[in-house]
Symmetry: C2
């Protein structure tokens, strides 16, 4: 039997392969945007969100194949949010994961359009989910609706806006929770829920998997904050200490490093408890929690 | 019986009312983005695209009510493309329709997020089409797929990219046609097709209405170019001569003013011929052609 890391890698590779097949070829007219799209997507990342969509299907004892277009759509949305977030008018980042950001290579105008294209392509891809595999149009529509909501001003964008509004300001714990649960959490949540809905999960199963996703997303974010304090810049592919430099409120800055670590562990345990009803089918999702808690990049 | 202009106004008002009901209230947290969304949407315009979606239903002898969410989604997409197009990194416009552009009021970062939100909200709205009016999920999914394609790199964004690529360069007539048919045409086409598909049009009817939409979109664009040469800045709400100043290729610059006007009339006549099978039901769509040909703003 494969170890967890190998399973994670196999799943991530399948996502990369699928992304590659869904993106228009780089020589499609107008070529510059299609090259730029591929640049932004192949810039890497752990593909955790689409892997979670596949894992939700598996945890329910289903074949993850039919949910692949949705899994990839969620990765496209994640990438669009990074491309726009890196823009000079937003976070003004020159590097991401050790590679030049889109606007540094293709210019600002093209980077705006790359983000717009990724978001648009995501919705086109969502409509292609499971049409040949007997997933009903009703379920696909429900997923599109949830994804759109999770990305809108009640989700991802709401989190970005709050993050901008609170820049260089004193922030309270509830405000920080709002930013994290929207800017990061909403996409983790919908990644898992989409996989569950498309796989025919019951309302109870969707609720349990949502509980898992929410806690996993929060744990991921706290670890992110901790790594920005005591991580290894080389492994992370970005300088550390940027949150402190930007006076950004984080879990370590609000609660201290030790309490932040304990909070991450507590939350991960809650996520694990939510998986109990799924028994051994939830093995991968369970190990993913431990992986996220102990990650160093 | 109401005259055409009154009918147009009634339809546009219904669209505005619906948009107002679909947008989150301005005091929704985080308020700044919801205020900014409403600012961008209420900045006016003739609402021609959503009106075309409603008109497609009527031309098929159907009630336009059920297609309203889709009509509004298309207006949100049109507005998103204007907000991003006006950004400093793109066309850098301070005014649109005589009002300050979004980034002049809310800043660049927020204007990027406003565009992103409008696009996302459009897809959320599309999923709400006709659920209570017996429109099948299959049809709604087909429309979402077509809208996403029309807005992507094979449509609207492809046209924007080509427009950027050809800036200050010699342009051939086929390149100009590509830009117009994608940057402007794709959204007119999908506005009409969406209304037709949701109203249960036959393949033949969809083909005829698409022919109408393509020619109407092209005629609209040619008149736009002509107005930039000989229009009235005050009525247009923007300075004229900007295409020449920006060395932008247009129909008048490529073919001369007289030939451009003749081309617009020819194309409008082709659009009118495509409406023949619909008889008197197509009256509004027919009058819209004459309105577009003779418009001065």
């Amino acid at each position: 039997m494969m170890g967890f890391l190998q399973q994670l890698q196999v799943k991530a590779s399948k996502v990369e392969e699928a992304l590659n097949s869904y993106l228009p070829p780089a020589d499609t007219y107008p070529t510059v945007i299609h090259e730029a799209l591929r640049y932004s997507i192949t810039a890497g990342g752990k593909r955790l969100r689409p892997v979670l969509t596949l894992a939700a299907a598996e945890t329910l004892g289903r074949d993850p194949g039919p949910v692949m277009p949705t899994a990839c759509a969620i990765e496209l949305i994640h990438t669009y949010s990074l491309v726009h977030d890196d823009l000079p008018a937003m976070d003004n980042d020159d590097y991401r994961r050790g590679k030049l950001t889109s606007h540094k290579i293709y210019g600002e105008a093209m980077a705006i359009l790359v983000g717009d294209s990724l978001l648009t392509l995501a919705f086109e891809l969502l409509t292609r989910t499971g049409t040949d595999e007997g997933i009903s149009s009703d379920r696909v529509l429900k997923v599109i609706s949830e994804v759109a909501h999770a990305c809108g001003t009640g989700g991802l964008i709401g989190g970005q806006v709050a993050d901008l509004v609170f820049e260089n300001k004193v922030i309270t714990p509830p405000d920080l929770d709002y930013i994290h649960s929207h800017k990061t959490g909403a996409l983790y949540r919908v990644a898992v829920r989409s996989g569950a809905i498309l796989s025919g999960a019951s309302a109870k199963e969707i609720k349990e998997l949502t509980e898992y996703a929410d806690n996993l997303g929060l744990a991921f974010q706290i670890i992110d904050d901790i790594l920005d304090v005591e991580g290894d810049a080389e492994k992370l592919g970005k300088p550390i200490g940027s949150d402190e430099k930007n006076m950004k409120a984080t879990y370590p800055s609000l609660y201290g490093l030790a309490a932040a670590k304990e909070k991450a562990r507590d939350i991960a345990m809650q996520a694990e408890m939510a998986l109990e009803p799924f028994g051994t089918n939830a093995r991968f999702m369970r190990e993913l929690l431990h992986y996220i808690l102990s990650r160093d990049s």
